[in-house]
């Protein structure tokens, strides 16, 4: 049960997306991009500044409000939701770690949908092993030159700037770089399984100049903190986005099962369909409670929020896969065709188990967290 203020906010977001974005979002998969006018529409709502502080023109939403926002956007289109996710990942890192000049120039424009910043960490040869980054920075006067390549960068085709993780000697450094920097190339990647509106790109840096003021914090052994904070935000957002896909799939399946017939009776009167619905209902409910738990931990800004967020992303992305899989099954042939969103939910849900850390990466981190904090058997090790 949502608190009254959250319920009002949900109604407001739902009305906005249904009136201003839903029709347009339906063709994002076919276009395989995120058109500027869609981003500008999202920007006019102010929601793109959800995690951005008011001093930079943002809305500084609470974690529960962020959850509502991501859930409602994902119900309309996974890529719409993921655009907010990527914007938020970059914004959190810029807000906390960037030079004030960079933050002042870019955050207000990101909040208004006038500037797009992409999170460029993944590399072709090392997709999950972040500390082994091969994008190399070399000192160059009062700054650096960067050479290397990033892969699978969401919104890389249309970004105006990138937040990048590079290697400086034996450490990593997060930095900001404008798209119009000489030597920077963006090559489109098309035909992905899901999140087809994400306008992915491979980004090449050919000896690109990075001014010192574009560094986000200092170099660090292990992953630069700016990137870690970005990932943390991305996982929270993706948890709620996944929940939106799961709830969307459940609603679609229930509607279909009530209005379609097999062997003379409604689908929802068939016990095997009820069994699938029950499994979806319980899985979605559990994921929702886990997401709410993470939101409350984040509201309290306690260290445990990081672990709670990992669990939420893991649980909700799995819930999205299960719910969308059963929705396709209940809708049958219709679920396999683009006339309903079932197939898109199914494809997008699969991506949610891979982005911002695969489920396997999450399993390792969740287990380590629990083992390290558990007192069971502690005296024997």
């Amino acid at each position: 049960m949502l608190a009254p203020s959250l319920s009002t906010f949900r109604d407001e977001v739902r009305a906005f997306v249904s009136e201003s974005l839903a029709r347009r979002a339906a063709s994002l998969d076919a276009e395989q991009t995120m058109p500027r006018e869609v981003i500008q529409t999202l920007g006019r709502s102010g929601y793109l500044g959800a995690v951005i502080g008011r001093r930079f023109g943002g809305q500084a939403r609470t974690p529960r409000e962020l959850g509502v926002l991501h859930e409602e956007l994902a119900r309309v289109h996974g890529s719409l939701e993921n655009f907010l996710t990527v914007t938020s990942m970059c914004a959190v890192a810029i807000q906390r770690f960037a030079d004030p000049a960079v933050a002042t120039e870019w955050l207000p424009r990101m909040a208004r949908g006038e500037a797009i910043v992409a999170f460029a960490v993944t590399e072709p040869a090392r997709e999950s092993n972040v500390p082994d980054v091969q994008t190399l920075l070399q000192p160059d006067g009062d700054g650096w030159r960067v050479t290397g390549e990033k892969q699978w960068i969401s919104f890389g085709q249309i970004a105006d700037a990138f937040l990048v993780l590079g290697r400086l000697n034996e450490q990593t450094l997060a930095f900001f770089i404008r798209r119009d920097t000489p030597g920077l190339e963006a090559h489109p990647i098309r035909d992905m399984l899901g999140l087809r509106g994400n306008a992915l790109a491979r980004i090449r840096f050919n000896n690109c100049r990075v001014p010192r003021g574009n560094a986000l914090g200092r170099s660090f052994s292990g992953t630069a903190p700016a990137i870690l904070f970005g990932f943390d935000e991305g996982r929270f957002a993706t948890a709620w986005g996944s929940l939106g896909l799961a709830q969307g799939a459940l609603d679609l399946a229930v509607e279909h099962a009530r209005t379609h017939y097999a062997s003379g009776s409604r689908l929802c009167d068939h016990q095997l369909v009820q069994q699938m619905l029950a499994e979806m209902i319980v899985t979605v409910k559990a994921a929702r409670l886990i997401c709410e738990d993470a939101a409350d931990a984040r509201q309290a800004v306690i260290p445990e929020m990081v672990g709670a967020t990992l669990i939420a992303k893991y649980a909700a992305s799995r819930a999205a896969r299960l719910a969308s899989d059963r929705a396709v099954q209940i809708l049958g042939a219709r679920g396999c065709h683009e006339e309903t969103p079932a197939s898109r939910f199914f494809r997008d849900a699969r991506i949610m188990e891979i982005i911002e850390g695969t489920s396997q990466v999450h399993e390792i981190q969740i287990a380590l967290d629990y083992i390290n904090q558990s007192t069971v058997g502690a005296s024997n090790s």
């Binding site: 380590l368 967290d369 390290n372 558990s374 502690a378």
Partner: protein
Amino acid sequence: MSMSVKNVDQIKATVRQFLQRSFHGKTLTDEQNIFDLGLVHSLFLIQMILFLEKEFGVVLEPQQLDTSALSSIERIASLVCEHAVSEAV
């Protein structure tokens, strides 16, 4: 600010308690490098930064967050003390 009344020993004790809770109850000396223990995943760094900011009421500046500043109880206590002094001035 509550920090201004805490001394270094109190800070070290609080930090040690947090780290031991996260490190399977392992006993840590003031100088021991916590990153060399290999017990935590990368996101532990965020947990530690959030803990220090919340517990001691400080905001850690990006330029002060480097590997060595957070590597041991001793260094963490120094970092927090510097903040407490600069924020109290």
